[in-house]
C-alpha cells in the first residue's frame, strides 16, 4: 500500500486545465522529485495535495483513506499530515522567527506551549538559525527565511513534506544552505515531494523523478534513467536542454 495514491485527477485554475488525468503513487519514506518546464503543473500538484487548489475529478487516498477536498474535516486532517514549504517562503511578516514556527502547533493544533517551543528551538538549530529566534522575517536573508519556513513546516510534525521550488527565489550563493537542510531531512527518512530546478540535487536525493509537461505526467522513473536515458522524447528534450544550459 502506498502512502499517497492519486487516480485520474483533474484540476483547474478558473478555466485553465492545470492538472490533466494525474496518476501517481508515493511510497512511505520516498523522496519524489517533480521536474518540468514552468507552467507544467508541478506546483499545482503540490497545492492540490494540501487543498489550496480543489480537484475537479479523480481521487486522492492518503494511508488508504480517500480524501474529499470539499469536506472541512478531511481538509483539516490532510493538512495535519502534509506540510508545505513555498517558493516565496510566505513567513508571517508580523511575527518573529520563533512565533512563526510555534503559532500553528500551539494555536491550531493546541499542543503544549513549552513542548512546542523546545521542538521549535531544536528544529531551528538543525537548520542553523538558533541565533535568529527573535528576528523578524524582513531582517533575514532569503536563504534564512526559507530555512525558517522549513522548520515551521516540520514543527507541525507532518508525515509528508512538500517543497515547492524552495530555492528558486534565492540568490545562487544561498541555495546550498537550504539544500543542506533538506539533505538532513532526507537522511531521516521523511516522505518528501520536491519541485525543483536544481537538477544535480534532484539526481542526488530522489528515489524517483516525475517529469511533467503541460499539466500531464509524461514519465516517472529512477533519476539515473530520467537524466541519462529517458523513455520519452519530451523528457529527453527537456533534460538535455536543461543540462546544456548549465
Amino acid at each position: 500500500m502506498s502512502q499517497i495514491e492519486i487516480k485520474s485527477l483533474n484540476a483547474y485554475y478558473d478555466k485553465l486545465h492545470v492538472l490533466k488525468d494525474i496518476n501517481l503513487n508515493v511510497e512511505k519514506g520516498e523522496i519524489l522529485s517533480l521536474i518540468g518546464p514552468s507552467g507544467s503543473g508541478k506546483s499545482s500538484l503540490l497545492k492540490m495535495l494540501v487543498g489550496l487548489l480543489t480537484p475537479k475529478s479523480g481521487e486522492v487516498t492518503l494511508n488508504n483513506n480517500q480524501v474529499n477536498y470539499t469536506n472541512k474535516t478531511d481538509l483539516r486532517k490532510i493538512r495535519e499530515q502534509i506540510a508545505i514549504v513555498f517558493q516565496q517562503y510566505n513567513l508571517f511578516q508580523n511575527m518573529n522567527v520563533l512565533k512563526n514556527v510555534c503559532i500553528a502547533p500551539t494555536k491550531i493544533q493546541k499542543r503544549n506551549q513549552k513542548e512546542v517551543e523546545d521542538q521549535a528551538v531544536s528544529l531551528l538549530e538543525k537548520v542553523g538559525l538558533k541565533d535568529k529566534l527573535k528576528s523578524y522575517p524582513d531582517e533575514l536573508s532569503g536563504g534564512q527565511q526559507q530555512r525558517v519556513a522549513i522548520a515551521r513546516a516540520l514543527c507541525l510534525n507532518p508525515e509528508i513534506l512538500l517543497l515547492d521550488e524552495v530555492t528558486s527565489a534565492l540568490d545562487p550563493e544561498l541555495v546550498q544552505e537550504v539544500l543542506d537542510a533538506i539533505r538532513i531531512l532526507a537522511a531521516e527518512g521523511m516522505t518528501m515531494l520536491i519541485v525543483s530546478h536544481e537538477m544535480s540535487f534532484v539526481k542526488e536525493v530522489s528515489s524517483r523523478v516525475v517529469f511533467m509537461d503541460n499539466g500531464s505526467i509524461i514519465e516517472i522513473n529512477e533519476p539515473k534513467i530520467i537524466f541519462e536515458n529517458p523513455k520519452e522524447k519530451r523528457t529527453l528534450d527537456f533534460v538535455s536542454k536543461i543540462l546544456k544550459d548549465k
Binding site: 483539516r76 493538512r79 516565496q88 510566505n90 513567513l91
Partner: protein
C-alpha cells in the same frame, strides 16, 4: 473692520462661549460615534465580503449594494431622506439621533471600503501559508492579516475622520445644534457673518488639525517602517 472690533467684546461673552463649546461638543460627538460605529460595522462588512462560502453569497451581494449606494448619494440628500423617513414613520423627532444614524450608515460604507482594501493589500501568499497550516478564516484574519493590515488602514481612516468632522456641518440643515448651526444662530442674532462664520472656521480647524497632523505623522512612520 471697525464694526468687527466693536463687536468682539459682545460676541465673546461667557454665554456665547459656552454655547459654541456645546456646539463643538455635538460636532465632535457626531463624528466620534459615526467613526466608532463605522469602524466596527464596516470592519464586519469587510470581513464578510472576503468570505468564499456560497451560503454567504446573498450577504456579500447586500454588502456590495450597500457600500455602492451610500458612497454615491450626497450626505445632504441622505440626511434629508432619513429626516423625512423618520417623520412619516413617526419613530422619533430627535434631530441628533437622525443625524447620528445617517452619519453611522455612511461611515460604515466608507470605512468598510478602507478596511477591505487594507485586507486586500496583504499578499495572497500569507493566506496560502496560513490555510495550509489549518488556520480558519477568522484565525488568519486575527493572527496574520489584521496585525499587518492596520498600517495600511489607519492613514486613510484618519483622512476619513477629518472628512467627517467637516461633513457633519451639513447636519445644520435639519437643525442639529452643531457648530455650523450655532454660527447661523449667532449670525441671525445680529453678529456679523465675518465673526460668526470666521470663529467656527477656527473651531473646526482646532478639531481637525491635530487629527490631520497625527494621521500624517503615522503615515510617514509606518511607511518608513515598512521599507
Amino acid at each position: 473692520m471697525e464694526r468687527l472690533l466693536e463687536e468682539i467684546p459682545s460676541f465673546f461673552t461667557i454665554w456665547n462661549i459656552i454655547f459654541l463649546g456645546k456646539a463643538m461638543g455635538v460636532t465632535f460627538l457626531l463624528t466620534a460615534i459615526g467613526c466608532l460605529v463605522g469602524f466596527s460595522v464596516g470592519g464586519l462588512l469587510a470581513i464578510f465580503r472576503k468570505t468564499k462560502s456560497i451560503l454567504l453569497l446573498p450577504l456579500r451581494f447586500f454588502i456590495v449594494i450597500y457600500t455602492e449606494i451610500f458612497r454615491r448619494v450626497p450626505f445632504l440628500v441622505s440626511l434629508l431622506l432619513m429626516f423625512y423617513v423618520f417623520q412619516i414613520l413617526k419613530v422619533s423627532d430627535n434631530l441628533f439621533l437622525i443625524a447620528t444614524i445617517t452619519v453611522c450608515l455612511i461611515a460604515t460604507a466608507y470605512i468598510g471600503e478602507i478596511i477591505r482594501s487594507g485586507i486586500e493589500s496583504i499578499n495572497q501568499t500569507q493566506w496560502d501559508a496560513a490555510e495550509a497550516m489549518n488556520f480558519s478564516y477568522f484565525q488568519v484574519l486575527k493572527e496574520v492579516i489584521f496585525p499587518q493590515a492596520w498600517k495600511v488602514i489607519l492613514p486613510p481612516a484618519f483622512s476619513f475622520f477629518i472628512m467627517f468632522i467637516k461633513d457633519t456641518a451639513l447636519a445644520s440643515q435639519i437643525g442639529v445644534m452643531e457648530l455650523t448651526f450655532a454660527a447661523k444662530i449667532l449670525n441671525n442674532k445680529g453678529f456679523s457673518p465675518l465673526l460668526s462664520f470666521g470663529t467656527i472656521l477656527i473651531l473646526y480647524f482646532i478639531l481637525s488639525f491635530p487629527l490631520d497632523r497625527f494621521g500624517k505623522y503615522m503615515e510617514k512612520k509606518l511607511v518608513a517602517n515598512r521599507n
